[in-house]
């Protein structure tokens, strides 16, 4: 099913704003860029950080851009380390309520670890965009209510 067909136009006051982030030295940005475009096509407003961001830069961008959700793309194995640090810093800055999701090359056994540190959803390679979109919409709704 195409993303265009499954999505009803957002009924919120503004488009849902997503920060797509690449943290650390990893250069694998294919997934980040594809998801950024797919989300934009699905009616989201997307801010892409570019490569090699620090956790602090991502937290600052999320607050400054007033995003509804943060999506972190990791392909280099340090996802648990990064997730812990990111959620901690978000809380420190009073932005702990912004839902964080992750995607990339992540072992199945780490999915629960990531969720236990506060990551809301983990998308492994092969996840249909429709599924990503509907889960992001749900997370944003949950945060509002």
């Amino acid at each position: 099913m195409s993303t265009e067909r499954m999505l009803s136009p957002p009924t919120t006051r503004r488009k849902i704003k997503v920060l797509v982030a690449k943290i650390g030295l990893d250069g694998h940005d294919r997934g980040a860029k594809v998801i950024a475009r797919a989300l934009r096509d699905a009616g989201f407003e997307v801010v892409y950080t570019g490569l090699r961001q620090t956790v602090d830069q991502v937290v600052a961008a999320a607050i400054q851009e007033d995003v509804d959700i943060i999506g972190v793309n990791q392909h280099e194995g340090s996802h648990v380390y990064i997730a812990r640090k990111l959620l901690e810093k978000l809380r420190e800055h009073g932005a702990g309520d912004i839902p964080v999701v992750m995607g990339g090359s992540i072992p199945v056994v780490d999915v629960e670890v990531l969720k236990s540190v506060g990551v809301k959803e983990v998308f492994l390679p092969g996840t249909p965009i429709d599924e990503v979109v509907s889960k992001l919409l749900r997370l944003v709704e949950e945060r509002k209510s």
Partner: protein
């Protein structure tokens, strides 16, 4: 002229084809419609039902195929190919610290691999030390951490560098890692003329895929050309560059784009080296290449064959190279990492086997086969061994290595080889019209093309136009078995601590005066625009770390920041 088919033969063949198209096909279609409206390769090349000599009309055998070991090398660069020597089984490996990687290399040698290939961690790939804040949490994760000469010595403990060849997937810090390697060889008493291997050292593709760029494009190319120039004069067996399509493909390019952009990168480097005053036949035999082998079987084989023919033509006709060796395209292949999925991951063993078979049928010189657990993590010993054994089965059991270029003469394969070549030339012409690949990269042209292709592929998967077993067809939701896949386990925090400690120890124990002078001399050479290689070698022998050498070079050359477009 060595035309394959006479006019009379072609006329008869065309008549038979028309008869099939007009009378036989419609009957069948009405009874049994085809599975898809249109069949295309992964690159989107439309495919007919079948191919005949009519698709190869005016085909000149000698001009297009010839014989193995002779121009245009479509059938292979060696006259005997795998009948004399099999391709090098070269497993890309490395994780943790130098100790862990040394163990893994020795295991793979024992298991029968015939060449080494080092995977570095992200801090090493971009040239920062393990105690740099940017390296936090990433030391030893996706490859081995090698910040100093001391680390490199440990990587090759009990391995004689005069007896093995080693590929190093390293780009901006290539002068540094090559210097580490040369210095270790010297310590082992191995003379320069016996040091064999490859530094990837391909800066332009870094801006399109891989993205471990550090310097801005022009400086990045300058540094890479320094490595080539120095190696050509000092290390007769070294391949100072591996002009790489692999990462471009993995970033989402089609096979045609991979081929065209890689050749365009190569053309740019040849021009740069000639502009330095080098003779084309002096360096051309040392240029090597690196391609992806994806899952669309025939397209990959056709791509490899077209690549050889195109490069031979470029070197001979464009650049006037005289030595046949200058016309050779020698290439390494890695099976497609991006074709592997975490769903039912053992299926990746099958995908890799098919892709490896395509590489062999395409005439590669060396091959890495991915491990089935790589969608999750760096391979376990178990998974790496299956991957290596896959190559051994192809080499020793299947018989496919016994006849050279066995698919030649297939109407389909030859048509597809021509078609891919034709499409790749069109891209190359476009890049030429932009002033060559350095200019095209600065304009973002190949980057945008690849991103478009990546997005198009994703949409095709979403829409079910591309089927991937376990992903959008034959899915299984139960992940219990996936959970039981034994992944590589090592104490990363311990490795990071050890690597930080070692780099600090190296800094505290070296001859301060010699170290300082070596870095100052490097800075001077870089500022004057000299070849930096001798100075980098001198600095690493004085135990300058990767971060320190890169620090000096970044001061002089600047740092590239990719515009965050998508």
């Amino acid at each position: 002229m060595a035309k394959l088919y006479s006019r009379e033969a072609l006329e008869e063949i065309l008549k038979a084809y028309k008869e099939w198209e007009e009378n036989i096909l419609p009957q069948w279609l009405s009874r049994m419609p085809e599975r898809q409206k249109e069949f295309t390769t992964l690159s989107g090349i439309p495919l007919k039902h079948f191919y005949t000599p009519a698709d190869l009309k005016d085909y000149d055998y000698v001009e297009k195929l010839g014989v193995p070991g002779a121009y245009p090398f479509t059938r292979g660069i060696h006259a005997t190919m795998y009948r004399a020597r099999l391709w090098t089984m070269r497993m890309f490996s490395g994780y943790g610290g130098p100790e862990e990687t040394n163990e893994r290399l020795k295991m793979l040698i024992k298991a029968g691999e015939t060449g080494l290939s080092l995977a570095f961690d992200n801090p090493t790939l971009v040239g920062v030390d393990p105690d740099d804040p940017l390296a936090e949490g990433a030391v030893g994760v996706v490859g081995v951490s090698v910040p100093t000469l001391v680390d490199m010595e440990v990587v090759f403990r009990d391995i004689n560098l005069g007896e093995v060849t080693t590929n190093m997937t390293i780009n901006p810090p290539a002068p540094i890692l090559l210097s580490f390697y040369v210095a270790v060889a010297e310590k082992q008493g191995v003379s320069y003329d016996r040091i064999g291997g490859t530094t990837q050292n391909d800066p332009l593709k870094e801006f399109i895929g891989q993205k471990t760029h550090v310097f801005p494009p022009e400086a990045a190319v300058k540094v890479a050309m320094d490595v080539i120039e120095w190696s050509v004069k000092n290390l007769p067996k070294w391949n100072p560059i591996s002009i790489s399509g692999y990462h471009i493909r993995e970033a989402g390019a089609t096979a045609v784009q991979e081929l065209a952009f890689t050749l365009a990168d190569g053309i740019e480097y040849v021009r740069q080296l000639i502009a330095r005053g080098l003779d084309v036949d002096e360096f051309a035999p040392r240029l090597s290449f690196f391609f992806d082998s994806h899952i669309n079987f025939f397209e990959e084989i056709a791509k490899f064959r077209a690549a050889r023919r195109m490069w031979a033509k470029i070197m001979k006709e464009w650049f006037g190279a005289k030595k046949p060796r200058s016309w050779w395209m020698r290439f390494h292949v890695q099976t497609a990492g991006c074709s592997l999925y975490p769903q039912q991951p053992w299926l990746n063993i099958v995908r890799t086997a098919i892709e490896a078979l395509a590489a062999v049928l395409g005439g590669c010189q060396s091959l890495h086969t991915n491990s089935f657990d790589e969608p999750f993590r760096v391979p376990s010993e178990f998974a790496a061994k299956i991957a290596l054994r896959t190559q051994q089965i192809i080499a020793y059991e299947t018989g496919v290595a016994d006849v050279i270029d066995p698919l030649a003469g297939s109407y389909f394969v030859e048509w597809l080889t021509d078609e891919i070549e034709e499409r790749a030339w069109r891209y190359i012409e476009k890049i030429e019209s932009m002033g060559g690949m350095l200019e095209a990269v600065k304009k973002g042209y190949p980057q945008r093309e690849v991103e478009e292709a990546a997005y198009r592929f994703q949409r095709e998967v979403e829409e079910g136009k591309r089927l991937i077993v376990g992903v959008n067809v034959f899915r299984e939701e139960d992940v219990e078995e996936v959970r039981r896949v034994p992944l590589l386990e090592f104490n990363q925090e311990e490795v990071e601590r050890r690597q930080k400690e070692r780099v600090r120890k190296v800094r505290s124990m070296r001859d301060e005066v010699r170290w300082r002078r070596a870095l100052d001399e490097l800075r001077g050479a870089a500022e004057r625009g000299e070849n930096i290689m001798p100075y980098v070698l001198n600095a690493v022998k004085a135990y300058a770390t990767i971060g320190e050498v890169m620090g000096v070079l970044k001061d002089v050359y600047g740092t590239y920041v990719e515009p965050p477009y998508y």
